[in-house]
């Protein structure tokens, strides 16, 4: 635990990519397999779920720190991170234990899940009494389900690559899917023998960057395959050894959530892996994303829900065919295989994502205007000769999204932020005008520069009207331009509308609140499906 807490600290303490990689390599060099595998697991973001209710944890920490609960909450409000608040408040530990990471995780942490609160309490108090501040912080992050550190999976892979000499693409692939954090797994991940196999394992996704170049820089249109950018869940369908596995991009196994897709996938030839999008799909067109959310939240779908929100898998690509990795082939070839395979199939839930035909970039630009009406987010542009690569890469694949909708709105409530924004008022609620009053319609957290955040924070502190717990109502004075991806009617919101992915585009210092948009303008944006 000490070594892992030190690693966490070094990763947390530097913004330099190289120093982060150095720190991880040094850790892998000096750590035994059964600890290192847990470290890898946590670092790449396989964070364990929260095992102790937040309320209880706060209560136990407050008791031990001899701080009244209201003061604990006031402190939490300033720190903006539960695990950290507890760490900062607890009294110094009399001793620190030298128990290794895997023992902490396997003997203490994992069994917590099945314990009664009273036993959890004594285990956790015990753990705290054996840790220094940096160990407690990491431990608290684990038990609150909030473990995160400033490294990406790609960075961990680069460190493992440098440590082991195994190619990054191979490592990335081996880290996909479900695996147990054991010493054997660690050895398998770092094994020089690349003939290993696991029938459930998905391939790393190839992801596109948003188009930032001019269309003109992309060259002739006939070098590109253009598809609609569907608004669903990216996923992989695997049929190997007569078993079906459906993975979401978050590497969650979702086969049971979409039984209609699993059934269809069983008809695929054995040894097939498809990349595509899970969509709520009815009568040949997508339903709004909010409908899919009803399916996402359930472990399994009931009959009624299956009837109301049926899904389809729009296949983009074939990654494995006849048990062979197809990724190095050109997209044009892969596409041929994909079309042939699915046209021979009587599964109407597996659909090849259609190619958009256009003669010129200008024609395409005009077609893009239809996106909202078609229920898509714009286009995907893929070079016809491109291989299927690993991770987010520039050059061969681009997403060309439609511009978001926007509205000018008034800041009316604020709350302190978390993490990097801890202690500052950064979580805002925005309103539009409704007659002479203001009606809240969106919450947004991001989009301002650090400097603007500080200025808005100061404004909020000087212009608070009322406090409701951690939330302050603020003198309505500041106007911001808010962007969002879509808007829908909603009976659950006071304004009668719900917007998707709201964020701040800019602070409209030039506007007064009388110039903010009205609820009527907003409702006029409601798309007719």
């Amino acid at each position: 635990m000490k070594a892992f807490a030190d690693l966490y600290r070094s990763l947390d303490e530097t913004t330099s990519i190289n120093r982060k990689i150095d720190a991880m390599v040094a850790y892998f060099r000096h750590t035994q397999a059964q600890d290192a595998i847990w470290a890898v697991s946590f670092l790449i973001g396989r964070k364990p779920r929260q095992v102790v209710p937040t309320r209880k944890l706060m209560q136990w920490a407050a008791e031990l720190a001899e701080v009244p609960e209201w003061l604990f909450e006031a402190s939490y409000d300033v720190v903006g991170d539960l695990a950290e608040t507890i760490t900062l408040l607890l009294p110094h530990a009399p001793r620190t234990s030298s128990r290794p990471l895997h023992e902490w995780v396997e003997r203490i942490f994992l069994p917590l899940r099945k314990m009664e609160p009273e036993s959890q309490r004594s285990e956790i108090l015990n753990a705290w009494s054996e840790m220094n501040e940096s160990q407690r912080f990491v431990w608290n992050k684990l038990i609150t389900g909030g473990f995160r550190v400033g490294v990406s999976r790609r960075l961990v892979v680069r460190a493992l690559e440098r440590f082991s000499g195994i190619d990054a693409a191979v490592l990335t692939h081996r880290l996909m899917g479900e695996w147990q954090a054991t010493a054997d797994t660690y050895r398998r991940i770092l094994s020089p023998d690349t003939r290993d196999a696991d029938i459930s394992r998905p391939y790393p996704f190839y992801l596109a960057y948003p188009l930032d170049d001019n269309l003109g820089d992309l060259g002739p249109l006939d070098c590109w395959q253009v598809e609609w950018k569907w608004d669903g869940i990216r996923g992989q369908v695997i049929h190997r050894s007569r078993q079906v596995f459906i993975w979401s991009r978050g590497e969650e196994l979702v086969s049971e959530k979409y039984p209609e897709l699993a059934e269809a996938a069983a008809l695929l030839p054995d040894g097939t892996v498809l990349d595509g999008e899970i969509l709520p799909w009815k009568e040949g067109r997508p339903l709004p994303f909010s409908e899919l959310q009803r399916r996402i939240g359930r472990k399994t779908a009931g009959k009624k829900l299956l009837r109301e929100v049926p899904t389809a898998f729009l296949a983009y690509d074939v990654l494995e065919f006849g048990g062979e990795d197809q990724r190095p082939k050109a997209l044009l070839q892969r596409r041929k295989i994909l079309s042939q395979m699915l046209s021979n199939l009587s599964a109407n839930r597996l659909i090849v994502s259609p190619v958009v035909a256009a003669r010129t970039w200008q024609d395409l630009q005009a077609l893009r205007e239809e996106s909202r009406r078609r229920g898509v987010e714009g286009f995907m542009l893929k070079r016809l000769d491109s291989a299927y690569q690993v991770g987010r890469r520039r050059g061969d694949w681009w997403k060309w999204k439609i511009d978001p909708l926007t509205a000018d709105a008034v800041l009316i409530y604020a709350q302190r932020g978390h993490g990097r924004r801890a202690g500052l008022y950064t979580d805002y609620t925005f309103a539009v005008r409704q007659g002479k009053s203001l009606v809240p319609f969106a919450k947004a957290y991001s989009g301002l520069s650090d400097d603007e955040i500080r200025q808005v924070d100061r404004f909020i502190q000087r212009n608070t009207l009322e406090r409701f717990g951690p939330v302050r109502s603020v003198r309505p004075e500041l106007v911001f331009e808010i962007a969002f991806e879509g808007i829908q009617e909603s009976s659950r919101h006071k304004s009668g509308v719900a917007v998707r992915f709201p964020r701040i585009v800019r602070w409209r210092r030039d506007k007064k609140i009388e110039e903010a948009d009205t609820i009527e303008t907003l409702k006029s944006l409601l798309s007719t499906p």
Partner: protein, 336 residues
């Protein structure tokens, strides 16, 4: 407010002595607790401060400013009250203001700390009836590590950087914090360089007999003459691309009580945050308030609302008094 002091639009005012303490606007007579900008403002007709604060105050206010001084503990009768100044342990020359009016004693702490600081006189605990205390860090999450430990952490960070050929750049408030850090540096590690704002204050400190290690002002060195592996002390405002350009290989750190919170450090995106403050932590505030034996506690700056409630629950007669901008807590901008 308590029969001795009133809160006015210009700040705390003693009508019987006709003076203000750290006024926010120009007044006839200002008693200044210490020379930081938010306590020592321009434009008053006369100033009174502790002897050791004089040079620093003069440097801030200009040569024309009319400054009188008192030794620590020296009593100055003004009309019907007696004023005296007592060490606050915050920075060199920092003082608590004690006002005695016919046996009733009111103390205004100014900024203070209980931790050891070799560059100024330690806080003198004062008994009084009314204690007006700052509480910048008035939450129990603020607990400072021992200053010796922080000195060691800074030296260790410097040593590693030096071994790897990097310049160590440590941002710290130019008055007080910078000198306190200097006093704890291990001079055997390498050369120490300073930003102009820091060097100016260093001179004042040295003139007043405070021992600081040898430093070199960066402005006197050409960009090519900057020694490798040096430690640079600079004010936070120097953290801009133009000034930083001269140190291509560097590690950046910030020393402040706010570094106790991880989010603050990440927001500054510094490599290291050293928890070192010239204010008291929670325990320091609580113990100083208790030691005052005061019947009445008034709190100002920082998390006053929270600390007042806590004190009231412990049976104190406590109350918050607003500062120039309400109950604002400025995390990033100010000296702390």
């Amino acid at each position: 407010m308590n029969g001795i002091l009133d809160l006015t639009p210009s700040g705390l005012y003693c009508s019987n002595g006709d003076f203000y303490i750290d006024p926010w606007r120009p007044v006839k007579r200002a008693v200044i607790t210490h020379a930081h900008a938010d306590h020592a403002r321009f434009g008053s007709q006369s100033y009174l401060c502790a002897q050791d604060s004089r040079a620093l105050l003069q440097a801030r206010l200009g040569r024309e400013a009319n400054i009188e001084t008192l030794d620590y503990g020296e009593i100055l009768p003004v009309n019907s009250v007696n004023i005296s100044l007592h060490p606050a342990g915050h920075i060199l020359g920092s003082a608590q203001v004690k006002i005695n009016q016919g046996g009733h004693v009111c103390v205004v702490s100014g900024d203070y700390k209980t931790d050891r600081d070799p560059t100024c006189s330690p806080l003198e605990p004062l008994r009084c009836h009314t204690f007006i205390s700052e509480c910048t860090f008035g939450l129990p999450i603020f607990r400072w590590p021992p200053p010796e430990q922080v000195d060691n952490e800074i030296n260790a960070w410097w040593q590693i950087n030096r071994n790897q050929g990097r310049t160590s750049i440590l941002f710290a408030y130019a008055l007080g914090k910078a000198q306190r850090i200097l006093a704890g540096l291990d001079r055997s590690i390498g050369p120490i360089l300073t930003h102009g704002a820091v060097e100016k204050i260093n001179q004042c400190y040295r003139d007043l007999g405070i021992t600081l290690p040898k430093t070199r002002y960066i402005g006197e060195l050409g960009e090519k003459d900057l020694p490798a592996g040096a430690l640079v002390i600079a004010p936070p405002s120097a953290d801009n691309p133009t000034w930083m350009r001269r140190f291509p290989e560097r590690s950046r750190a910030f020393a402040s009580g706010w570094m106790r919170i991880r989010g603050n450090r990440r927001r500054r995106s510094v490599d290291r945050g050293f928890v070192l403050s010239d204010h008291s932590d929670w325990e320091g505030l609580v113990s100083t308030i208790a030691a005052s034996g005061a019947e009445r506690i008034m709190l100002t700056h920082g998390y006053a609302t929270e600390m007042v409630r806590w004190l009231q629950e412990k049976g104190y007669d406590a109350k918050a008094i607003p500062t120039a901008y309400g109950d604002e807590v400025e995390i990033d901008g100010k000296e702390a």
